[in-house]
């Protein structure tokens, strides 16, 4: 299938005396028209899916679903998943599956909780918690660089960290951490007396927005971000280009560790308690969001906004079904079915794209315009 736009006049032997002008081929029309649409569906399909879900729930769960207050509720409910999904997602994009994230979150919140209950400043406690995330990332990274499988390594660190968090907490928890309320249950931009006109936006929503904004800019606009993604796709190619690829592998672990620490701290702020018991379930919820976002586990592909939407889809389904009065376990069923469906859909699109590209017989630069 070729577009009418290209007139395939073949250059016989482009070798001798071909100057730049002659060999140049008009570009942009050598691809079948349908390919950009298919690519769009593949890359942006999840946004459409989210939109559809919202529309469906707006009618089906009316009148309570399609309200600003409910939107904020969904955003807040999805915030924690979104933070962990960002950690898992960036890890996967840079070529590592970091399973130690719940442990990182636990140790970060327990260290923060210990410092807070021992009368240290809030900012210091938070910085220490975040530093835990960075340290865990460094350790994971350097062990993995020795040639071990990151999945096994991070399973190991997960168990070490969970134990360490319990040691820090002395086997108990740190309750009553009200100092962190400003980043937990507090709502900003309240309008009216006690938020009667507008109840305000909860703090985690801002944190998620900031994390995804900065993360997206970093991955798509900066040199280090591009290299990080490149390492995820083909570390050897990056190394051969003269870039210290190993440094970027460690950076991937550090970022995902840092995001896990943020997630842990936000969770602590929400429940005003630092709990050393890591909840490995969060990693699977996060992975579901990442997989929904179509982030390939082979690395190098994917985008953070899609991961965010993936997390929001999970929250939307849970919320919509709950409003409708359907048992919450149906939300899990729906999410799983949606994930499997999206896999099939993606495979279909992928096949369609490569078939069209093949049949277009994209040749190098032999066609003259």
């Amino acid at each position: 299938m070729t577009t009418p736009a290209d007139q395939p006049t073949r250059a016989g032997e482009p070798g001798d005396g071909t100057t730049a002008e002659e060999a140049v081929v008009p570009t942009g029309q050598d691809m079948p028209r349908s390919v950009p649409f298919l690519i769009f569906a593949r890359d942006r399909g999840i946004f459409v899916l989210w939109g559809l879900l919202i529309v469906v729930f707006a009618f089906w769960s009316s009148p309570y679903f399609f309200k600003l207050d409910n939107a904020i509720l969904i955003a807040n409910a999805g915030a924690l998943t979104a933070l962990f999904a960002a950690g898992v997602g960036i890890g996967v994009m840079t070529g590592v599956l970091d399973l130690s994230l719940p442990g990182t979150a636990a140790i970060a919140s327990c260290v923060c909780g210990w410092l807070l209950t021992h009368g240290h400043a809030t900012w210091l406690s938070l910085v220490a918690g975040l530093a835990c995330g960075v340290a865990v990332g460094l350790v994971n990274g350097f062990i993995t660089l020795r040639g071990f499988n990151p999945i096994i390594v991070t399973i190991g660190t997960l168990s070490v960290l969970t134990g360490l968090a319990a040691v820090v907490a002395g086997g108990y928890t740190f309750p009553g951490l009200t100092q962190l309320e400003f980043m937990g249950t507090h709502r900003y931009f309240r309008i009216g007396d006690a938020g009667q006109t507008f109840s305000g936006i909860p703090a985690p929503v801002f944190i998620v927005a900031a994390v995804f904004f900065i993360g997206t800019i970093f991955l798509t606009r900066t040199r280090d971000g591009l290299r990080l993604m490149a390492v995820g796709a083909n570390a050897e190619a990056v190394r051969r280009a003269g870039i210290p690829a190993n440094r970027y592998k460690v950076l991937g672990f550090v970022i995902s560790g840092l995001l896990a620490a943020i997630g842990g701290l936000v969770n602590t702020a929400n429940v005003t308690e630092a709990n050393p018991a890591a909840s490995p379930a969060i990693i699977f919820t996060a992975l579901t969001a990442v997989a929904l976002a179509g982030v390939a586990l082979t690395g190098g592909r994917g985008s953070l906004p899609r991961v965010l939407v993936g997390a929001m889809i999970l929250a939307t389904i849970a919320n919509g079904l709950t409003i409708r009065g359907i048992q919450p376990y149906w939300a899990t069923v729906t999410t799983g079915a949606l994930l499997l469906g999206s896999l099939l859909f993606e495979r279909m699109l992928q096949t369609a794209v490569s078939e069209r590209l093949m049949s277009a017989n994209l040749s190098v630069h032999a066609k003259q315009g």
Binding site: P14, T19, G28, L226, A230, G300, S363, V364
Partner: protein, 268 residues
């Protein structure tokens, strides 16, 4: 062809008495060879003849056990591929080493990204537009235009990918000094038409003064683009002849070892 003379006609790359041992195995045995600027030298040989080893020595991936390497007349000692890259030697691997999900421009600029001016640049923000523009200029100068610079490599055909990989190396070596390109089986995965295009590109790069060493199994390619043919057999150089007028039967004989080395007389 007459190579343009630099540094009193010194070869771009010259190997002198280079040997490489792996334990007791002598993978390459006292090899002398050189490439002039603008010359395409095809390196032929059967499997295990030592082509890859020689290429790795030239690209700095292996340090030779014995012998010297001169680049533009200056003796060099490479302990890593990055040393060779600094000396102006770029290797195009058979697997191309492209980052598939990223676009052509990003791949061409990998490791040499242009940052934006001003504070955003200090934060490490890349100037995608400038990179795209300069990539286009570079590709135009090489006389190739593959696809829009924003297209991901995974959507390119095999020939287009090969061209992107070749162009990337050509851009790298074509800085201040006249560079040297080492190509490992550049047409192994390509169809007829794509092979023709890659041939043309290799020829154009040579015409711009780049010295090219071409390792291949593809004899027609080698007669088409090479100026000179160097043949290895079991680690020894057995022939070094101009490509024009080379007798294909002799070449095959040298490769398989059925024809005696043209250096035997001198050696005995």
């Amino acid at each position: 062809m007459t190579p343009p003379t630099t540094a009193a006609g010194a070869p771009a790359l010259a190997l002198n008495d280079v040997e490489m041992h792996y334990g007791f195995v002598r993978a390459i045995d006292s090899i002398d060879m050189h490439v002039m600027p603008g010359e395409v030298v095809a390196l032929l040989g059967d499997n295990g003849a030592g082509k890859s080893t020689l290429l790795k020595v030239m690209s700095g991936a292996h340090k030779p056990s014995h012998g010297t390497i001169r680049v533009h007349g200056v003796e060099q000692s490479f302990s890593a591929p990055s040393d060779a890259a600094v000396a102006g030697i770029q290797m195009v691997y058979q697997d191309l080493a492209l980052v598939e999900p990223q676009d052509i421009s990003t791949n061409l600029n990998m490791g040499q990204e242009q940052l934006r001016r001003g504070p955003l640049g200090w934060l490490g923000f890349v100037d995608r537009r400038a990179m795209r523009r300069s990539s286009e200029v570079e590709l135009d100068r090489l006389g190739v235009r593959t696809a829009p610079m924003t297209r991901p490599v995974e959507m390119l055909s095999g020939g287009q990918r090969q061209v992107v990989a070749l162009a990337r190396s050509a851009i790298r070596v074509n800085g201040e000094s006249q560079g040297i390109l080492l190509l490992d089986e550049p047409t192994a995965a390509l169809g007829y038409e794509q092979t023709k295009n890659v041939e043309a590109l290799i020829r154009r790069m040579a015409d711009r003064g780049i010295a090219i060493v071409l390792v291949t199994h593809d004899l027609p390619l080698c007669y088409e683009v090479a100026d000179r043919i160097v043949i290895l057999n079991r680690g020894k150089k057995v022939a070094d002849i101009p490509a024009a007028g080379a007798d294909p039967d002799h070449v095959v004989g040298w490769i398989t070892g059925s024809k005696a080395s043209m250096y035997v007389e001198q050696a005995v």
